[in-house]
């Protein structure tokens, strides 16, 4: 009985996935030809003119040794030149079916506790895996992209990095040998320097000496890279400067990974197996559970939330594996219908931020606008590639899921901090330096490297996971504190624009590459964005005692390991703990801060306007502190009010969103990320004296307010309900 053969689905036996034919560019072959000529030519001359005498005078081991080294060099050179570096085949059509206008340009993924951003590649039609980059010279995405080497006319990536590295080592050794033995020859023939043999030997020595400096410099550079587990791309773009590299496993393991791992498989040019599996109905089905049946009945095909639902599911997907030990977040409204069909495509399961819909734009934090305009003015071409860092943030608030802050705040942090850094970097003309290939401008490598260090790129790097986990909020508040001083216009230079979508990226494909040549020209922004800060995370602000009220949740971090985020339940505990600590440490509060806590309770009716007002002051949280205090309403320090929207300073302090975000569970609501985050921070902070709460912020769960006597705690749950818990 004929059945459907799975091979049809797979496209049958296929040849390699083909890239479009590229025009023949002879200029690409000049450097590699020159390198080959110099290498082979000089060595041949050495063997012909110098080695005979050496083998006679000393021993024949010398030419044999030199021949072995030379063959090793040549073999590695050929492998580096001709081996596929790890090119990803283009994604097929069905992987990218979702609406491009809604898909963000970047997706965030967490690697060992550090947020890493994956960028959509418009050419290859997938989100680039971590460490992957698109080479514009080769027009391919390359796995573990190191750089494009013009001297071998090939990208250096995962598959051939080892050969490239060994090529450098062996070439350095070979140059040293040739130069050394040539020197020996010349020193023994000082009186016969006019003979052709001596002349040739001296010429070979000159070539060797000339190439030695850049080659040795590059070799040393790559030895350091291998030891640190970085790629050239990451080193030159300063991704990990001041932060932690999530891809390193320790020096020894890094080295063994480069040298001893099994040869990685190639993805291109594979023969597709013909799947002879027949798929034919009737199909087996698992029995439906009661819940599923009920869900089907309830399912009314909510469509408009499809994207946010999808993103949430993907967030769950990302989080479930790492967050099993955490208490479950409160049920999210959008997930009330588990049976809801979700059209899934490749990227949807990667989505960690809900793609912004037009309706969400109005919820965007106001501080985006100046940045956006600034970006538009100064970096028009960057806008398109700009990350949708802030655009999904409203949706994150809407989705208000526990893990959302993880990706969102980090990206927001990335926006804030990176913006400053990126602004600087781009303004300074990126890629103005960079190591040149061997044989490049004399000393180009050293010049490049020094240039790199001099440029002072203040790019973000990955914060330590420790920071994120235990003191994440602290760091975030530190970040926020510092970023407050940065011109906020540059904060958004990475593009909190509506244009940061795949669709636009697809229209204007920009392929970044990091060849040594292209380092001289501005190339596209690196894919990585990280929740990084330039500050040392180990130095919390000194003046505050442990029972600080500055919205730094690190106060409670010892007691509640935050691990980068807190659940709403944890936040309730945090607030309770804070209250206790604050009660104990109330004496240590400095007066301005006490003034803060007083200024907590505007009446509930003024909540929403206050919210907006506060949001607008988000940026100047530190500056807004002072003016706000005196002007605030005079609720007594001991007053516990339920409603007041958060006191702005604590909110502003926890502008760094990551931990203060906890439990942004909730339905569509206006509160903005910073606002929401700071509410929690403020809630925790003010918990000691007052607990700022906001009935206008149902999304913020578990804000507690407690009375001075500590009799009853009021908790705002999801949906705006307030609970009283007697203590």
């Amino acid at each position: 009985m004929p059945g459907f053969s799975g091979g049809g689905v797979g496209g049958g036996v296929g040849g390699p996935a083909s890239a479009p034919p590229r025009p023949f560019r002879p200029s690409r072959y000049v450097p590699v030809s020159a390198a080959t000529t110099f290498l082979v030519g000089s060595t041949t001359l050495f063997f012909c003119f110098t080695c005979p005498w050496l083998s006679e005078y000393f021993s024949s081991v010398i030419p044999i040794y030199n021949a072995v080294i030379f063959l090793f060099t040549l073999a590695n050179f050929c492998m580096a030149t001709f081996m596929d570096p790890g090119v990803f085949p283009r994604a097929e059509e069905d992987e990218d079916k979702e609406d491009d206008f809604r898909a963000p340009l970047y997706k965030t993924v967490e690697i060992k506790g550090i947020q890493v951003r994956m960028k959509w590649c418009s050419t290859c039609r997938f989100y680039r895996p971590p460490r992957c980059s698109h080479c514009s010279v080769c027009d391919n995405c390359v796995e573990d992209f190191d750089h494009h080497c013009p001297w071998v006319n090939n990208c250096i990536g995962r598959r051939n990095y080892r050969y490239f590295f060994l090529f450098l080592l062996s070439l350095t050794t070979h140059i040293i040998d040739v130069f050394g033995f040539g020197l020996v020859y010349v020193l023994h023939h000082r009186q016969q320097l006019d003979t052709p043999h001596a002349a040739v030997t001296m010429a070979v020595m000159c070539v060797a000496g000339l190439f030695f400096v850049p080659v040795a410099g590059l070799t040393g550079f790559h030895i350091v890279l291998v030891a640190r587990g970085r790629t050239t791309n990451e080193q030159v773009t300063g991704k990990f400067r001041g932060g932690v590299n999530p891809f390193t496993n320790g020096c020894l393991r890094n080295i063994s990974h480069v040298l001893c791992s099994s040869q990685a498989p190639r993805y291109m040019g594979r023969w597709r197996s013909q799947q002879a599996v027949e798929v034919q109905p009737p199909f087996l089905r698992p029995p439906l559970t009661e819940a599923q049946l009920e869900a089907k009945i309830l399912d009314n095909g909510i469509q408009n939330d499809r994207h946010s639902t999808r993103s949430k599911s993907s967030l769950d997907q990302m989080e479930s594996q790492s967050a099993d030990a955490e208490p479950p977040p409160p049920p999210k409204p959008e997930l009330r219908y588990p049976g809801l069909p979700r059209a899934d495509t490749e990227e949807s399961s990667l989505l960690t931020e809900a793609p912004p819909t037009p309706s969400m734009y109005k919820y965007r934090p106001p501080f985006n606008s100046p940045g956006r305009n600034h970006t538009a003015l100064t970096h028009p071409n960057k806008m398109i590639r700009g990350e949708s860092l802030d655009s999904p943030s409203p949706s994150i608030l809407q989705s208000s899921r526990q893990p959302s802050y993880r990706s969102e705040p980090s990206s927001l942090d990335g926006a804030t901090v990176v913006g400053g850094g990126v602004g600087v970097r781009r303004g300074g003309g990126e890629r103005g330096e960079g190591p040149g290939g061997p044989g490049g401008t004399a000393g180009g490598v050293l010049g490049g490297m020094s240039g790199y260090s001099l440029t002072g790129r203040s790019y973000t790097s990955y914060p330590s996971s420790l920071v994120l986990s235990t003191g994440g909020s602290r760091s975030s508040s530190l970040r926020s504190a510092h970023t407050a001083h940065n011109p906020l216009t540059t904060l958004q230079s990475e593009g909190t624009t509506d244009t940061s979508y795949k669709s636009l990226a697809n229209q204007t494909p920009r392929n970044g590459s990091l060849s040594y040549d292209s380092l001289l020209t501005p190339s596209e922004s690196p894919e990585f964005e990280s929740a990084a800060h330039e500050l040392s995370p180990q130095k919390p602000r000194a003046p505050f005692p442990s029972a600080t009220i500055t919205g730094q949740p690190e106060v409670v971090s010892p007691s509640s390991p935050l691990q980068g985020y807190t659940s709403p339940f944890l936040s309730a505990q945090i607030a309770q703990q804070r209250e206790g600590q604050l009660l104990q440490g109330s004496a240590t509060f400095s007066s301005p801060h006490r003034a803060y806590l007083r200024a907590v309770s505007p009446p509930p009716s003024s909540g929403p306007p206050e919210t907006q007002h506060l949001l607008q002051h988000n940026q100047d949280f530190s500056s807004s502190r002072a003016p706000r205090n005196p002007s605030s309403s005079s609720s007594s320090p001991g007053a516990r009010s339920l409603e007041p929207p958060v006191s702005p300073p604590p909110r502003g302090l926890s502008l760094g969103k990551s931990l203060s975000y906890t439990g942004e569970a909730g339905p569509q609501h206006k509160p903005r990320p910073a606002g929401g985050g700071t509410v929690l921070g403020g809630g925790g902070v003010g918990g000691g004296q007052q607990a700022p709460q906001s009935t206008s912020r149902p999304v913020l769960a578990n804000h507690t307010s407690s009375k001075p006597g500590g009799g009853v705690k009021k908790v705002t749950g999801v949906g705006g309900t307030t609970y009283e818990i007697s203590v």
């Binding site: 799975g6 049809g8 689905v9 399961s349």
Partner: protein
């Protein structure tokens, strides 16, 4: 041999949708796939079955990428022979990839095809996703 087939039998089941199981990068760039059960498969497959399959794949990939004595010896041998050994010998990774292909075929035959699903070897997608093709179920009362 004269056989009568209904038109429906002769028609191939159409592809209803595709689910893409993404890579799990939480431990770095090692090859791991997410074991979270996609919701689209809820009505087609047991969660445990799916997780077992993915976990087995993850284990196989871990074996392929293992830094062990075997891979080290392979590298040394390749060096000594100026990499000409690659012309005749199959690398460790490739051997495990073949194993994986066999495993996927086996799983397809035993578990997935009877349920109207098909797993695609992730190597065809550059080890980025595991593609699960869901076929349209035309049997009566499928409801989906």
């Amino acid at each position: 041999m004269a056989e009568t087939h209904s038109l429906q039998d002769l028609q191939q089941p159409a592809v209803s949708s595709k689910v893409f199981v993404q890579r799990d990068y939480s431990s770095g760039t090692i090859c791991r796939f997410q074991t979270k059960f996609p919701s689209e498969l809820e009505s087609r497959l047991d969660k445990q079955q799916f997780e077992e399959t993915i976990q087995a794949l993850n284990n196989l990939y871990a074996e392929a990428e293992k830094l062990g004595g075997k891979s080290y010896l392979e590298g040394c041998l390749a060096c000594l022979t100026a990499y000409t050994i690659f012309l005749c010998m199959e690398t460790h990774y490739e051997k495990v990839l073949k194993k994986i292909a066999r495993y996927i075929k086996d799983q397809n035959e035993k578990i997935y095809a009877p349920r109207g699903l098909l797993l695609t070897d992730p190597i065809e997608r550059g080890l980025r996703v595991v593609e699960v093709t869901i076929f349209e179920d035309r049997s009566i009362g499928s409801g989906r």
